[in-house]
Symmetry: C2
Subunit: 310 residues, 2 copies
């Protein structure tokens, strides 16, 4: 079978750091082009926009949309209409209701729509899921705290409507949580801290539960200097389980489990190549629905204005 | 077949004004009890809570939950666990993610979960849907403006997280819109005005679209004194269509269509009796998802504090 020729649309940090090496490492995938107004990659054809790519670019079969979530729906619709498969970075869009029509269009065109959740393929997530399947979980605490100036420098879109603010990393925690716990979860309360000059929260606390009342507490904070944390602590009937470093490390009963290092994005592209063979979709909106519920239900507080480092 | 014995839980304005006469008018339905801490109805057994109803009340088959949305999930879960059918007033809960587990529990127990949208059974909605099915719609404008002090006096819950504020009536407009337009719709932008002392918006504007770019503009306002409006204007290739008075009136081409008056809630209870015969669920979350998206995507403005009339 000829390889899947992928065009990356939007060539920011995540595209350069993760998507380019992952495509290079994936059998059956090849990087065909980059669409970006102002960034290029040596040896790869570059055009400014998706529209120009379709008009004048090299042939390709699929797009990986690495643009900000607010513009992805239009791009996905254009790509699907042109008969291309579509991989969406997380979150899959700026809001829930735009995904349904895209999925309908993809299924009608027999093209794959793949809403990725890269944290779900972090190396310790599947071992954690298997470990927890044999235990009774009694409480969950999530601490997802990072310095936005380090990890999202100058990303204006993250503060605009649809950019999610601190839920942009927080949704990674929720994507892991909803993978390692099989039962449906829902938000019971949320507190959202909005900088006075921004349209997205800089910090949030959430309480979630399942139908049996499992207490889940999550703290998301973009103002963390010093040690950063991307950790999920689970109390179980057989002792604590800690999934840390964004899903890269697993410890249980004080013992650090050895987890083979694996690149998250390579797992995503293997899956994408598989899906496109039949045009099957893979769209799970569960983490996004929890975020929407936090915004819907959240108590809003205004906190001091946030200014990016200059 | 013996009639469906219904207990109304929560006995506020909507229960007294709408549910009681609708049950009385519905063949195959009978009001068995009222659960309310401080309101009763002559001739009908009354207890304070759902729990007491289950312990000490008369026998019944189903509950109609007319309590504020923030407490309905727990009540629905208790009622389903006790083998009762459940009718939910709109909106079906305080957030999207709590509905999935309830639906799972209902299906497993072969009991009906019915998420009602009373405006969808307003008398002119089905005639409007049929009329529009033969036309091309080019633009939609929704004006849903009412005086909160007149229609929601002293309803503190409406301003609390999960109470939706002006989206409590606004979701009625969205429930009609998503019934009369067959294609999926999504929110493209929203502006939300939060009173400085409240956790829910007092006014909102929304722009929505379909995959083909149909422009839909909605204005919701709780501060409307003087004439109230619950109107949907549709421009079509065969002239304007106006669905007004909350779905009670229809005019097209300047001609007022005669629509037989019909009580919205009687239609809901007829449907509930039908559904419970087989235990089939009826849960459409589309209007609620649009509201969640408006909160997720909305630009937030703080406006002057709101104080209820005293």
């Amino acid at each position: 079978m000829s390889p899947l020729r992928i065009a990356i649309v939007g060539f920011g940090k995540i595209a350069r750091d993760q998507h380019v090496p992952a495509i290079a490492a994936t059998e059956g995938a090849v990087l065909a082009a980059v669409a970006s107004p102002n960034t290029s990659l040596a040896g790869v054809p570059q055009v400014a926009t998706l529209e120009e790519l379709l008009r004048n670019g090299p042939p390709f079969d699929a797009v990986a949309l690495c643009t900000p979530p607010q513009v992805r729906r239009d791009q996905a619709a254009i790509a699907l209409a042109a008969g291309k498969h579509v991989l969406l970075e997380k979150p899959p869009g700026a809001m829930l209701s735009e995904i349904g029509p895209l999925l309908t269009a993809a299924v009608a065109a027999r093209r794959t729509l793949f809403a990725t959740w890269h944290s779900r393929v972090a190396p310790a997530v599947e071992p954690a899921r298997l470990l927890l399947a044999g235990r009774r979980i009694t409480a969950v605490r999530i601490s997802w705290k990072e310095d936005v100036r380090v990890w999202h420098p100058g990303q204006a879109w993250i503060w605009q409507p649809g950019g999610l603010g601190v839920f942009d990393p927080g949704i990674n925690a929720l994507s892991i949580l909803t993978r390692i716990l099989p039962q449906p979860l829902f938000v019971t309360s949320a507190d959202l801290a909005f900088p006075a000059n921004r349209d997205a929260p800089i910090a949030a606390t959430l309480r979630l539960a399942d139908a049996a009342g499992l207490p889940i507490f999550a703290e998301f904070d973009f103002r963390q200097t010093g040690p950063q944390s991307w950790d999920i602590h689970l109390d179980t009937d057989q002792g604590p389980v800690i999934l840390s470093s964004g899903g890269a490390k697993l410890s249980a009963g004080g013992v650090q489990h050895v987890v083979a290092a694996a690149a998250e994005y390579a797992g995503l592209y293997r899956r994408f190549v598989e899906l496109t063979a039949t045009g099957e979709p893979d769209v799970d909106l569960t983490p996004f629905q929890l975020v929407a519920d936090a915004f819907l239900l959240g108590h809003r507080r205004t906190v001091e204005p946030f200014e990016d480092a200059t």
